[in-house]
């Protein structure tokens, strides 16, 4: 259960780099288990990044994003200490939200 999420947001000059590492199986629904049974799809479908209370990235993803997904984004206008909130929802309705501060 690699459940946690890691968020890193760093201000470099006037650009904030945001990197997100999510713990998720990202099952495609095309793999079979040892017994030959198809493993049902289980994957994150949507994710958002909010900085300082405003949504900056609204993403939708499919089964071909790698297991334990990693995403990188950049933005202007954020300052040190701004709250970065990342959320995801998967195809089973499971969801998770974590936050960090711009450093």
């Amino acid at each position: 259960m690699a459940d946690p999420m890691k968020i890193r947001a760093q201000l470099k000059g006037d650009v904030t780099e945001i990197r997100v590492l999510m713990g998720h199986a990202m099952e495609t629904g095309q793999r079979k288990d040892a017994a030959g049974k198809t493993i049902p799809p289980l994957f994150i479908q949507s994710m958002t990044v909010e900085v300082g209370g405003k949504k900056v990235v609204d993403g939708q993803i499919g089964t071909s994003v790698s297991r334990n997904p990693v995403f990188g984004f950049k933005m202007k206008g954020a300052k040190v200490g701004d709250k970065v909130v990342v959320s995801w929802v998967d195809n089973k309705g499971d969801k998770r939200t974590d936050e960090a501060a711009v450093a």
């Binding site: 690699a2 459940d3 946690p4 890691k6 890193r8 713990g23 334990n68 990693v70």
Partner: protein
């Protein structure tokens, strides 16, 4: 689609230096690099793989397991409801994690054995926290749906030695003895293929498919063999330890697989890690 080095080398052969001079600066620029850098050193694919690894290591999913391992280390757990932080000595004193990984395997008087990090952690889980040994032996390595707690713990402890130099205490005669056993193990030929570790890992420049095989008898080769473990394996997306790696090497040699946390594996890890002494550990890595 850019086998730049191969292409440059071909151009260099095609354009004779004398004619290159007549063709102006553009041709000269193309013809020059192969003369300066030996072409055989690293092929285009190897360079591309290194670039790829560097991109991957910027954000390594191993961090997720480090975070989990830290919780396992600090929380009171097991039958005795104690934390490893307040009960487990990794060689530098009870609870000291910083720098412990790069100084293992080492000798532990309380156990009367030389132990690598995973063996020591599991020993503490059993002897300090009161976990059931048979339970911990059942599924020792990660699969799609299960990461053993010991794996996350190893990842956390290893991460606490990031940017520190390997310093296996070879001066300790116990450790030196086990090192010598390790040296014998890597030379031991057996199995249906009459393989030893050294058949593949005892000379420079060997590879299997697209992967280079380090020569573990040299400092350079041993360093590349121990670097990046524990590793997040891209295939399957699971976190694996050196105990797994050694066991799987035995399988690939068509040897019987060693028991989890056996003396044999500790001796191999002692041999390889000590050969890497002095190299700087970069932390949990990414493996194919």
């Amino acid at each position: 689609m850019k086998y730049s080095i191969a292409v440059v080398a071909m151009l260099a052969l095609a354009v004779h230096p004398a004619s290159a001079q007549n063709k102006g600066t553009a041709a000269k620029k193309v013809a020059k690099p192969p003369a300066a850098a030996p072409v055989e050193e690293k092929d285009a694919a190897t360079l591309e793989f290194e670039k790829f690894r560097a991109m991957m290591e910027e954000t390594n999913p191993a961090e997720l397991f480090e975070a989990q391992g830290e919780e396992f280390w600090k929380n009171k757990r097991g039958h005795n409801n104690v934390s490893l932080a307040e009960s487990c000595d990794l060689g530098l004193g009870v609870g000291v994690v910083k720098g412990a990984y790069v100084q293992m395997p080492r000798y532990f008087a309380d156990a009367g054995k030389v132990m690598d990090v995973e063996r020591r952690i599991v020993w503490c889980m059993i002897n300090k926290q009161g976990f059931n040994e048979a339970d911990l032996m059942k599924r020792p390595f990660a699969s799609d749906s299960h990461t053993p707690e010991a794996t996350s713990l190893v990842t956390y402890v290893a991460g606490q030695s990031r940017d520190m130099k390997f310093a296996v205490p070879l001066k300790d005669p116990h450790v030196k003895d086990v090192y010598e056993i390790g040296k014998e193990v890597v030379n031991y030929r057996a199995g249906p293929y009459d393989f030893s570790c050294n058949t593949c890992h005892g000379t420079d420049g060997k590879r299997i498919r697209m992967q280079n095989l380090p020569n573990i008898s040299t400092h350079r080769g041993a360093t590349s063999a121990v670097m990046g473990w524990p590793g997040y394996r891209m295939t399957g997306g699971v976190m694996l330890t050196q105990q797994w790696r050694m066991g799987d090497c035995f399988r690939q040699q068509r040897f019987p697989q060693p028991k989890y946390l056996s003396d044999t594996v500790t001796s191999l890890l002692t041999y390889m890690t000590a050969n890497a002494n002095g190299a700087t550990y970069k932390g949990p890595g990414i493996k194919r």
